[in-house]
């Protein structure tokens, strides 16, 4: 039993083996971008939105609303980052219901990659919004003695993010596989349904924690106007 799709090599690109994790990530990417391109082409302000456009607007505005609740501002660059995290993880976890599809998020490499992205994004957002000095100043607050603890806390956030997502998704897939071998007719369906719910919750948790970390990095920064946000974009 393979616990990670990293171990499944789909094809080799030169000397580089392309694993199922990467291929399935591409599938998720094509799905997300393809639907977005199909829906958002030929958008016009004077025409009433269709059902697909309304659905996408609903998803985007819901994500934006959640981010605004956390950050108390409507920073678009946070939306792009956290929204992409949420959509990628949620769609990956949703595709668990397709037999034979191993979600990329069940790979520790993927979750580590996402966590590293978050860990890089946090100082980046903080520095872009308030400058290097103000960002680094937060590590010696409330006292310079707290510097090592703050650094450890910063890294432990990433580790917890990565392990939490990987553990939940991988365990769900493993439990479904075990139940499939024991009772192949009823329990796997229930567990898959539970897996969908868990997958959504994990996507939400990962995205919202990333947003919280980013907003904490931007906490000392005054609320930015949307014009400035656009400029940052």
């Amino acid at each position: 039993m393979q616990l990670s799709p990293d171990q499944t090599i789909v094809f080799t690109l030169g000397s580089w083996p392309v694993s199922a994790t990467i291929v399935n990530t591409w599938i998720v990417m094509v799905l997300l971008v393809g639907i977005s391109m199909l829906v958002t082409r030929n958008l016009r302000a004077d025409k009433a939105p269709g059902r697909w456009r309304s659905a996408l607007e609903l998803i985007v505005t819901m994500i934006q609303g959640q981010i605004e609740e956390v950050t108390r501002s409507g920073a678009r660059h946070v939306l792009y980052f956290a929204g992409t995290l949420f959509l990628f993880i949620a769609v990956s976890n949703l595709l668990t219901v397709i037999p034979g599809f191993a979600p990329p998020t069940s790979s520790l490499s993927t979750t580590v990659a996402l966590t590293l992205s978050v860990l890089v994004a946090i100082p980046l957002f903080g520095i872009v919004n308030g400058g290097v000095r103000q960002y680094l100043h937060k590590f010696i607050e409330p006292s310079p003695i707290m510097l090592p603890f703050n650094i450890i806390g910063e890294f432990s956030r990433g580790v917890s993010l990565a392990i939490r997502l990987y553990g939940n998704v991988m365990s769900g897939a493993v439990i479904a596989a075990i139940l499939l071998s024991i009772a192949p007719f009823f329990f796997p369906v229930v567990m898959d349904m539970l897996g969908l719910l868990t997958g959504f919750i994990q996507a939400y948790i990962f995205a919202i924690l990333a947003t919280v970390y980013i907003s904490s990095a931007m906490a000392e920064i005054p609320v930015k106007t949307s014009e400035k946000d656009k400029k940052h974009d």
Partner: protein, 256 residues
């Protein structure tokens, strides 16, 4: 559980690519579309507000114009009513004047008709009176009317003799006028009667077609006569009174 760092790098690259693609094809179009739609809605609401303000302004203008038109209409109506009343009064005054003039003309015409009638009545009555008198005298007294007149004149001369002599002022001629020429015998009879009381007076006879039937003798400034005028005047007075009574009765019945 192992970490494949090549896969990690590839997934980071994949995530960044996905981030850029979603920003390009999802977030920006959707959020810009929402912003554009909100702007469009705001613009339409502003247009609607402006249109509503225009409509209110037009409504108030319409109400004002309507009030003005109603006021003008009332003024014109009053003016027309006043003009109509004035015209009616003028027409009534003209009608009254015309009526009065017509009544006056009618009365004149009635008076003329009455006078014509009276004249004809007098003429006809006089002729009838003469005819009847002449017939009665002939049948009852075997005498002519002219002789009777002469005798009547003769009876009048006796009490008036002194007055007539004085009126003649020494004149020796008296003028006798009749409508028709008197027979010679009658002329001689009259001359004899006059000779009894006025011996120095000679008679001359003349006719006057306009004169009433009878005889008029003019002696100086005095006159002795007998004509049918006095009888016809009495008859005309009687008929006029009766006609007036009949007219009054008819007028009262018309008024009812």
């Amino acid at each position: 559980m192992s970490i494949d760092w090549i896969t990690v790098l590839a997934q980071i690259a994949n995530f960044l690519v996905l981030l850029w693609l979603l920003k390009r094809f999802l977030y920006r179009p959707i959020l810009d579309g929402i912003d554009a739609r909100e702007a469009e809605i705001a613009r339409r609401m502003a247009d609607a507000e402006q249109a509503q303000q225009h409509a209110k302004a037009a409504e108030s203008q319409y109400i004002e114009q309507r009030a003005k038109i109603v006021s003008e209409h009332d003024a014109l109506l009053k003016e027309a009513l006043a003009a109509t009343e004035s015209k009616r009064d003028a027409l009534l005054a003209q009608a009254r004047s015309t009526l009065q003039q017509e009544q006056k003309d009618w009365r004149k015409h009635l008076e003329y008709e009455r006078q014509v009638f009276n004249a004809r009545l007098q003429q006809t009555g006089a002729e009838a009176l003469l005819k009847l008198t002449r017939k009665a005298l002939h049948e009852l007294a075997d005498a002519t009317l002219e002789e009777a007149i002469v005798r009547h004149i003769g009876r009048q001369l006796q009490p008036m003799a002194a007055e007539l002599i004085q009126a003649s002022a020494g004149s020796q001629y008296a003028q006798v006028t009749t409508r028709d020429a008197l027979p010679v015998s009658t002329q001689q009879l009259l001359q004899e009667e006059v000779q009894k009381w006025l011996p120095q007076v000679r008679l001359s006879f003349a006719t006057d077609a306009q004169q009433a039937p009878g005889l008029i003798m003019q002696v100086g400034g005095a006159q002795v006569s007998w004509t049918t005028d006095s009888y016809m005047d009495g008859l005309a007075e009687l008929l006029t009174q009766q006609a007036a009574n009949s007219a009054a009765v008819r007028l009262r019945s018309d008024e009812r």
